[in-house]
Structure formats: C-alpha cells, structure tokens
C-alpha cells in the first residue's frame, strides 16, 4: 500500500499513450458492441427474417415481460446460482481447511485438485453426461453397488433429477477456485490470533467461528461475488449436458438467451441479455461499491 501512495509523475502524456492500445481494443470489442446490443434490443432483428429488420420501440421488452419462459428461466438462474455457488463455497471452504494443514505432498495435492478448474467446460459437460448415462453410466453403477438405488436412473432426462445433476457438475467445477482463494486467505491469518484464542480456552469449532471466518470475510465476499457472476453467465456446461431440457428443466436465462441467439433472433436475445445484465448489476452493487472504494484515484 505504501508504495502505491507515493506520488507519481503527473500531467504527462505517457499514461494515455500506454493506455491507447488497450482503449482502442476495448472500445471496439466491448463498448461499441454493447451499444449495438442496446440498439438491437429496440429492433425486430431476426437474421432469418432480414426483410423485417427495423425499429419497434419497446416491443421486445413488452414481449419479454409476458414470456413465461423468461420468468421461469430467471427463476432457474436463481436456483442454479444459489445452490451452485452455495455448495461450491461450502465444499471449497472445507477443502481449503484440509489443504491448510501440514502434510507431505501438499503442494502436489493442491496443484492436482485444481485440474477441474482448467478443464474446458464442454469436456466437463460431456464427461459428466457420460457418467450420468441412464444405461451405461458409472454413477448409476456406483450407486447400485452402494445399495442406494434399485434401478438405473436417467439423471439428465428426468425433470426432477436434471437440475440437481447439472448443479453437482458446476459444483465439481467450482470447488477448486473457492478452495484456492480461501486457502490463500487462511494462510494470511496470523497465528497469534489462534494462539490467543487457545489461551482463552477456545475449542477448534469456536476458533473457526470467531477467528477464521471473520478474518476471511473479504476473501469470501470477493470470491463469492466473482463466482456468482461467472456461474450466472455460464452457458457451456448446461448447454452441452442437457441443452436446457428436459422440458426446460435446466434452462437458465443465459442458456435461453444463447438458444435465441443461436436461432438468430438477435433483437429478442439482446433485450433479454440486457435484462440479465441489469439483474446482475443489481445483485453486485455491494461488490461494485467495494471495488470502487479499493481503487484510490
């Protein structure tokens, strides 16, 4: 912090020159496209009906408000995020606590447990789809051997089991990232705090509640926020496992928008994407405030 507070050179052209390339790129691949999307959301813009392209005012937004699929997909996004990120946090935290202990081979275990995080989303989706298979799937076989089920379950083709199944997959994918961030946080906690708690007669559980978790507050907050945004936006896992089915049971808003965009209905897809952005912005207000406060001018 003290380094950054030091006064730097002011009123020179240098920083602007250095930023010029990045600003040009970001302007053309982020800012202009987003303006473009806003404009498309006010148009009938279906590339399969090119003759009908033109401004229709708020029509897309009106359609969206009366589209039951929009609302149910939004609700499924909430379920997907709450359970997905919730379990990622819970298990990621447990893994971080385990990895924070001293044992032989810890470095290797830490690196290896991160592999799900570097695996392509499509591959994750396909791997799990194969494991969930209703006829030849290994998960059915394992559950059968453990005596937990009596006959094979077609996990991904039944509305009741499809959503929990894709959530398990996203949890599997997200545990390493949480564990990694929380582990770094754990290693930053001063040992003195635990020592003091021990002297006061705190049990292991009490240390966790009164020392560990409060010390990790900021890490938990930032990591959870990043994950919420990421999971809400993710398309590839669900799309490649179920394509949002069966009967829309796993169709989150991102997947719905993606399907509309793939069908080239860009106007309606843009309107929904803007709604998704607004919802995310609303959910992330505390995060944005935090980010803004952290950056000194």
């Amino acid at each position: 912090m003290d380094i950054r507070r030091r006064p730097r050179e002011k009123s020179t052209i240098w920083p602007y020159l250095l930023l010029l390339p990045v600003l040009i790129v970001m302007l053309s691949v982020v800012i202009v496209p987003i303006i473009n999307a806003v404009s498309m959301s006010f148009q009938s813009y279906n590339l399969t009906k090119p003759k009908k392209i033109g401004y229709i005012g708020l029509q897309n937004y009106a359609t969206l408000l009366h589209d039951p699929l929009f609302w149910s997909s939004l609700l499924r996004t909430a379920i997907w995020v709450v359970f997905g990120v919730g379990c990622q946090f819970l298990f990621g935290f447990l893994l971080a606590l385990v990895l924070n202990k001293q044992f032989k081979g810890r470095g290797v275990v830490r690196a290896v447990s991160l592999i799900p995080w570097v695996t392509p989303g499509v591959l994750i989706a396909l791997m799990w789809r194969w494991m969930y298979d209703g006829n030849y799937g290994v998960i059915n076989d394992l559950l059968m051997r453990l005596g937990l089920i009596k006959e094979n379950i077609a996990f991904l083709s039944k509305p009741g089991t499809a959503m929990p199944s894709v959530i398990v997959t996203i949890v599997w994918q997200g545990i390493p990232f949480f564990a990694l961030m929380l582990l770094a946080g754990l290693q930053g906690i001063s040992y003195d705090l635990y020592e003091a708690a021990s002297i006061d007669g705190a049990t292991g559980w009490q240390k966790l509640i009164y020392v560990t978790i409060p010390s990790l507050r900021n890490t938990i907050f930032v990591t959870t926020m990043l994950r919420i945004i990421w999971v809400a936006n993710s398309v590839d896992v669900i799309f490649n496992m179920t394509e949002g089915g069966p009967a829309y049971a796993t169709q989150t808003l991102s997947v719905y928008i993606y399907k509309k965009a793939s069908a080239l209905d860009m106007g309606y897809a843009s309107a929904m994407a803007i709604m998704l952005m607004l919802v995310l912005l609303l959910a992330a207000i505390p995060y944005l405030r935090n980010t803004f406060r952290d950056q000194e001018g």
């Binding site: 380094i3 006064p7 240098w14 920083p15 250095l18 930023l19 390339p21 990045v22 790129v25 970001m26 691949v29 982020v30 496209p33 473009n36 999307a37 590339l47 447990l94 385990v98 044992f103 690196a111 592999i115 799900p116 570097v118 695996t119 392509p120 499509v122 591959l123 396909l126 791997m127 194969w130 494991m131 030849y136 799937g137 290994v138 545990i175 390493p176 990694l180 961030m181 770094a184 007669g201 900021n218 930032v222 809400a232 993710s234 398309v235 490649n240 991102s254 928008i257 993606y258 965009a261 793939s262 860009m266 897809a269 843009s270 994407a273 803007i274 998704l276 952005m277 944005l288 980010t291």
Partner: protein, 286 residues
C-alpha cells in the same frame, strides 16, 4: 485441546484427529475431484463393445488406443488442434502486449481518469457473455470476419484483456518503483527503464498471465461454436461434434478430451504458483 497436552490419551486423540480431519476428507475430495478424469481416461481405452456392455467395466481387459488412432485418422483431430493453437497463441500475444502497457500505466502513473478506468476493467466481467456474443456475431458477420480465426481472437480479448490488466497491475505494484528511479537517475529514459529493468523482472509474471490467457482461449466453447465453420473449428467445438445424431462416440470424445487437457495441465503446473499468487493477492488483501 483442553489442557491435557501430555499423555497417551491426547496423543491418540491427536492421531485420530489427523485421520478424521485430514486424511479422510482429503481422500474423499481427491476421489470426487479426480474420478471423472480417471473415468474419461478408462473410457478412451475401451473398445466399443466394452463401452456399451451392461456390466460397467472399471478397467478394460485389453486397453486399446483404437479411439486415439481413429481420432487422428478418420477424424483428423490435428486440424482443430492447429486451429485452437493459432487462436490461443495470437490471443495470448495480443492480450499480453496490450495489457502490459496498460498495467504499467495504472501502476506507475497517477492521471486524470485512472480510477474510473481501473473500475471499468475490474467490473468488465459484469457484462454477460451472451450480451457481448450477440452484437459481436452481427458485427463479425457484417465485416465478413465470421468463420475467420480473427473473429475468435477479437471476441476472446473481451475477457482476456481486462483480466490480464488486473493481474499484471497487481504484479507490477509489487515491483519496487525505486528500481526504475535508480536507472533513470543514471540517465536512462523511461522507455529504457521499462525495457531494461521492469520487463525482465516482470517476465515470469507475464508468462503466468500468458498461460491463463492461453487456457481460456484453448477451452472456450460458447463463442467458438457460433464463430467457426468446418475449416476453422476449434477443439471444444470438434469434441461436441462427436455427439452425433445416431449416438455419442464416447470413446472418441474421451480420447479427445484427454488430449485437450494434457497440454493445458502441463503449462498450468509450471505457472500455477505464480498464477495463484497473483489471483489471490487481489481478493485476499484488506
């Protein structure tokens, strides 16, 4: 824990504690996290009849590399691999060079507009992927870039650049400014100070950042499936293409998956320490 620090009882308790609080959960976690990879690998070694036998086979009787030879023979998997490599390498080079300059500006200068720009980069991930995908698709289509690798490179910079700027700014903030100041007192100008002093020190961090960018572009599917055709298809799209109308070729998909993951894993293992340090520094502080 409650005072009886000595004696057999507490020693036993400690041992049991280590088993139940360390080894048991550790083994369960590793089994859960790694079993899918084991299963992918085993599947890739199976012959089609073993794949669809009613009794699930945990290790094939005659492990076979038939799937791999099909993948590279009939399915010409080298082609998408080459496409992915081109896209990932170009994305990495562009993102790294542009972001390093920006990160240097953010780290070493105080200027009007710094804070809003930093916040913009930090919050860039708020924009839903699909929100960028839709207009980028129509823009690329109008410019005739659709199905050209350039369309993927440009799309990937939407998320790789903000992330790299953030990561590299963090790394640069940790490099003492005194180093350049000393060089500049000795008569070097700012550009020389940057090239001779900062760049060599930053290089390992740039490599780590580069690995991350490479991974992201190598793995990306959502843009790739809309922005490529048969000739420009990247690996993730090709993997999905093996899910056919008549059934899924699981042996080929899993073989392709193993081949896709291996280079990324190798790069990641070399870069992970520094990458993890950079990633966590931002979230942990404060």
């Amino acid at each position: 824990m409650n005072g009886e620090k000595f004696g057999d009882k507490s020693l036993l308790k400690q041992k049991l504690g280590r088993i139940f609080l360390l080894w048991v959960p550790l083994v369960i976690f590793l089994l859960f996290l790694l079993f899918p990879f084991y299963w992918t690998f085993v599947t890739s070694l199976k012959l089609p009849e073993e794949l669809h036998s009613l009794k699930v086979i945990y290790w094939p009787q005659n492990p076979s590399f038939q799937a791999y030879s099909h993948l590279f023979g009939q399915y010409n998997f080298l082609h998408p691999m080459k496409n992915s490599l081109v896209v990932a390498v170009i994305t990495t080079l562009i993102s790294l060079s542009v972001s390093t300059l920006a990160a240097y500006a953010f780290s070493r200068f105080r200027f009007v507009g710094r804070k809003p720009l930093m916040v913009l980069f930090l919050t860039n991930n708020m924009f839903p992927t699909v929100l960028l995908l839709i207009p980028l698709f129509t823009i690329m289509r109008k410019m005739g870039l659709l199905y050209n690798p350039a369309s993927l490179v440009l799309s990937y910079t939407t998320f790789t650049i903000p992330f790299s700027v953030w990561l590299l700014t963090g790394y640069l903030n940790d490099l003492p400014i005194a180093l350049e100041e000393a060089a500049m007192i000795d008569g070097a100008n700012r550009a020389q100070g940057f090239l001779r002093i900062v760049l060599p020190l930053l290089l390992p961090c740039m490599l780590a950042t580069g690995v991350y960018i490479f991974m992201q572009s190598w793995n990306e599917y959502t843009f790739a499936v809309l922005f490529t055709n048969e000739t420009s298809r990247t690996i993730p799209v090709s993997l999905k293409m093996l899910v056919g109308q008549l059934g899924v070729q699981w042996d080929l998909i899993t073989a392709g998956g193993i081949i896709t993951v291996i280079p990324v894993c190798i790069m990641f293992f070399f870069a992970q320490k520094r990458l993890v340090a950079g990633l966590t520094a931002g979230a942990v502080k404060g």
